[in-house]
Symmetry: C2
Subunit: 401 residues, 2 copies
């Protein structure tokens, strides 16, 4: 059982402080966030699969691979420090080192992360001044400020926290995230930073995070493009003294709660996708294998034709079944059922005796669920995507001009 | 050596007649095409890989699989006869049978093809009346009319023909095609019908067609969606008496010419993609394998971010390298060079010392070549795509409403 904390964020977790400030990397908005834990934290992370990887991501991957504890996460927006070669890599190391020095911790205890324009060198004097200033500003309730400071083209901050009752006591999980599903240099990348005070050993933490990310952040799509800087980091300081053991009922409860707020963050990212006007939940049910249903869901989630049809509130089931058809998955199209929310649009054998006006009414809502029942097995999945609007084109065609 | 025929089309080929009429499947525009050969033709075809396949496509695949000769190709627009189950399949057989009867040929000598709205039954009385009327209207110069009759959301007809000098004489190749790269029920599908009077045995014809399609129609993208009805059919009546033998120099010359007009048709389809304002040629050079360069080119060609950047004339090389990075291909990003036409935008080690205004000027042209040099091998490929505009969203969000 878990319960949401009102206005919760990463600093809802005991022992976690944060700040978000304007350092000067962006013109006016906050652009530097710092998350600090007094207690050393176990850490797990998942990173972009893009072959092009930003310098701070490479630095942070090494920190996590070493398996030591961490005490801080430094995140800037406004500059991705990606495609910057050796100089960029050295800049990333310098900012990590400088932040560690100011905090009085080891260099390897600092995770760093960047999002923003790529292909431009980090203005190090601005970043250094920012670091100098931010270390004294972390507070017990600075999570929302930090959530604002990591945004780029996002319109709203994404922050959630829950209390989870486990067998030996209560723990808290809190996180902040940013979208909006797109890549640089439009200053958009998927980042999420999550903390908990549960006592979890690092291998188990990695296992729990991987499973959670696969069921949340890895099942969203704004435009099918991935970033050079995407990362999800989970830290735990163990201050609750509530231990979660591998294979226990507590592990299950903890994972459920972590997954819930991860899905909340993932959905918030999707809903705030560039130009998006609707959040679309895509359920693919009763396929032969998990891989099959995920492939079909992903293909539908990325289809410009499906996304424009939903934008236009057009009950265009042909585009949905055809996207499934080109996914490469083997299934019998004649068995497929499609629903919009609870309304059946397509029944097996291509029957589609629905009321067009009623379908348009369902699709006119701001949140819609499209269910595709393959009637061919027992594997199911849920993905989230957004509609595709003129605004997306406008934002992306005009950004740098 | 080959030379283009002015206003050429499929009827530029000796012995091939065609017509295009308004049967009533569409409101006003032509919607029924018939291509007829007095001499029986060897035939080869390639078909959509979409799991959802339209009834006429299934019927025509069987005709070609049987390996016999054909004498006619009947194509309607306005209704795709896809997702119509058994009734749709029987309708397809009936239209094939009716056309054969009217022409006085065997049922298996008629290829049929449809494009248009899916999920609706074919209005057979309209189609039958159309067939009745069109068989008497085929002429030696009806190719352009046929090209018009197969269009859906396309704006212009696509027709090309060439004369090819071979060792023992001259042959002609002519074709018609339609786009616009999108799927139903927006009435859009990729179709191409090509004829030649060269004398080519059917196994060689199949080999030549497969190779050609892989280098032309299979390397274009409008929105990454494929149709239930896509097909390319090549027929040859052999009336030139000029034989093309497997492995000969003539085979090479013939294939070159066929590939040239296939690329012309493919480019014309891309240029006429829904909402497109620019034709983008994507060259990926010096990769490790053919599969690598094709995967990278396809990922770039389908990236909404790359396509919107070109629309906005924004020299956004970061989106290009990042699309390559998420393609799943292993390469070294630091070695990559990117050019827009002849202008270097990115040199190895992420050097990008170009003039932004000059780059915008290049990107403002109606036809642009983006070259990505991986400097990592000797495999190369060329793809074609179009930009992504508000018009695409408008067309696809509002079509059925």
């Amino acid at each position: 059982m878990f319960t949401y904390i009102e206005n919760g964020s990463i600093t809802s977790v005991k022992g976690i402080k944060a700040a978000g400030i304007h350092a000067g990397l962006k013109r006016k908005r906050k652009d530097l966030a710092l998350i600090v834990s007094e207690q050393p934290c176990s850490v797990a992370g998942t990173f972009t699969l893009n072959k092009v990887q930003a310098a701070p991501l490479l630095v942070s991957k090494k920190v996590i691979a070493k398996g030591g504890k961490v005490k801080a996460i430094l995140v800037n927006s406004g500059n991705a420090n990606a495609c910057t070669g050796e100089r960029g890599y050295n800049d990333a190391l310098k900012s990590q080192k400088y932040c560690a020095k100011k905090l009085g911790v080891e260099q390897d205890e600092v995770i760093i992360s960047s999002t923003g324009v790529i292909g431009e060198y980090m203005p190090m004097h601005i970043l250094k001044n920012g670091i100098e200033s931010i270390v004294d500003q972390v507070t017990d309730d600075g999570g929302i400020k930090a959530a604002k400071a990591i945004l780029t083209t996002d319109l709203v901050e994404k922050a959630f926290a829950v209390n989870v009752k486990l067998s030996s006591g209560e723990v808290t999980i809190g996180g902040i995230a940013k979208g909006s599903g797109m890549i640089m240099p439009n200053m958009a990348t998927m980042l999420a930073f999550i903390a908990t005070d549960a006592d979890i050993e690092k291998d188990l933490l990695k296992k729990i995070l991987t499973k959670t990310v696969n069921n949340s952040f890895n099942k969203i799509s704004v435009d099918g493009d991935t970033s050079t800087n995407d990362m999800v980091v989970l830290i735990t300081n163990g201050v609750s003294k509530v231990k979660v053991e591998d294979g226990s009922e507590d592990e299950k409860l903890f994972t459920e709660a972590l997954q819930a707020i991860s899905i909340d963050m993932a959905k918030a990212i999707t809903k705030d996708g560039e130009g998006a006007s609707k959040l679309i939940t895509i359920e693919v049910k009763n396929g032969r294998t998990e891989s099959d249903v995920d492939t079909i869901a992903q293909t539908i989630a990325n289809s410009p034709l499906v996304k424009t049809a939903v934008y236009g509130s057009d009950a265009n089931w042909g585009r949905i079944i055809s996207a499934a058809g080109r996914s490469g998955v083997d299934f019998d199209p004649a068995k497929v059922e499609i629903k919009f929310d609870d309304m059946t649009i397509l029944a097996p054998n291509y029957c589609h005796e629905y009321d067009e006006e009623e379908a348009t009414a369902v699709l006119s809502k701001k949140e819609i669920t499209i269910s595709i029942n393959l009637n061919d097995g027992d594997a199911s999945t849920t993905w989230w995507t957004c509609d595709f609007t003129e605004k997306y084109i406008e934002i992306n065609a005009s950004y740098r001009s």
